[in-house]
Symmetry: C2
Subunit: 145 residues, 2 copies
DNA sequence: TATTTAGTCTATAGTTTATATAGGTTTTAT
DNA sequence: ATAAAACCTATATAAACTATAGACTAAATA
């Protein structure tokens, strides 16, 4: 399962995507709309900002906003940023590979083979779907405030 | 990622499967062969026993053994037993469903839809592959001791 | 330009869950 | 009886999660 952090990040990013090009969005607005602890959300958005995914503006009229169009932000990228590996085992991770300490030879490990396939199947979806693809369907988004 | 517990369980079960019909296998043998802390492994095997997946025999000549043929133990079952949900989000889990607290309506949540597909893709593999399918390839298994 | 206000940024602390260890108890075979 | 093995309970350690307090920054306005 994805961590709470990543789950919240998804919902927050969806909210930001739905309000793209409408100027900075308040943390408090996202927190209220998505039912997330405002302070925890604060940390998450900051992490996303430091990773280059979000921009922010301080002071009155400030808030957070996407730095790229939603279409260009793959779901896989969000998961990797906050949760790390998408694979079920370290030894089949593309981006966070670690040698398996429990088997003598990965090349003949049957587990390795199956888990690689699971990873590929997941990645096929998560790499090709973007924030734009997961926006709330059939719902007009009013500007709050 | 799968928890350490589940990762260790997989390797232990593979070991047991490779020695099926050879009588009880010592915890210490598995621990040494798979490089797992013997005490942690003890807890894991006990949990698998209490869940009905393993049998055990106490005392001299004792150990653990599979209660069913490896072919009949699906990988998904092992994961669910120790790690819980296979899905990435609680709201798309088949066996551990929880309502999403962060979105107003699951029916129109785009995240829900994509994550359901990821779940299905993973399950297709994990439900259909068994312990038998992940045994070490091309390796004759000698009886130790 | 001083002040107020709205907001981000930083640090930290408490709580829970995951991982691991230690020691003692019970059962079984010989 | 003795030794070997699983079993049980308690505890220690580390990581993840949640929450809180206060510092800092930018904008608005008088």
């Amino acid at each position: 399962m994805l961590s709470k952090k990543t789950q919240y990040a998804f919902h927050a990013l969806i909210h930001l995507a739905e309000r793209a090009d409408q100027g900075p969005v308040l943390i408090s607005e996202i927190a209220q709309e998505k039912n997330i602890s405002i302070k925890f959300l604060e940390n998450i958005l900051l992490e996303l900002k430091n990773a280059g995914m979000l921009g922010s503006k301080k002071g009155k009229g400030g808030g957070y906003y996407l730095l790229k169009p939603p279409k260009e932000i793959a779901l896989a990228k969000i998961i990797r940023l906050l949760d790390g590996p998408i694979a079920l085992l370290p030894c089949v991770s593309l981006n966070y590979y670690e040698r398996c300490e429990n088997c003598r030879d990965e090349a003949v490990c049957g587990l390795h083979e199956v888990m690689s396939k699971v990873r590929d199947a997941s990645l096929k979806l998560l790499e090709n779907k973007s924030l734009k693809d997961i926006l709330t369907k059939n719902v007009p988004i009013p500007k709050l405030g």
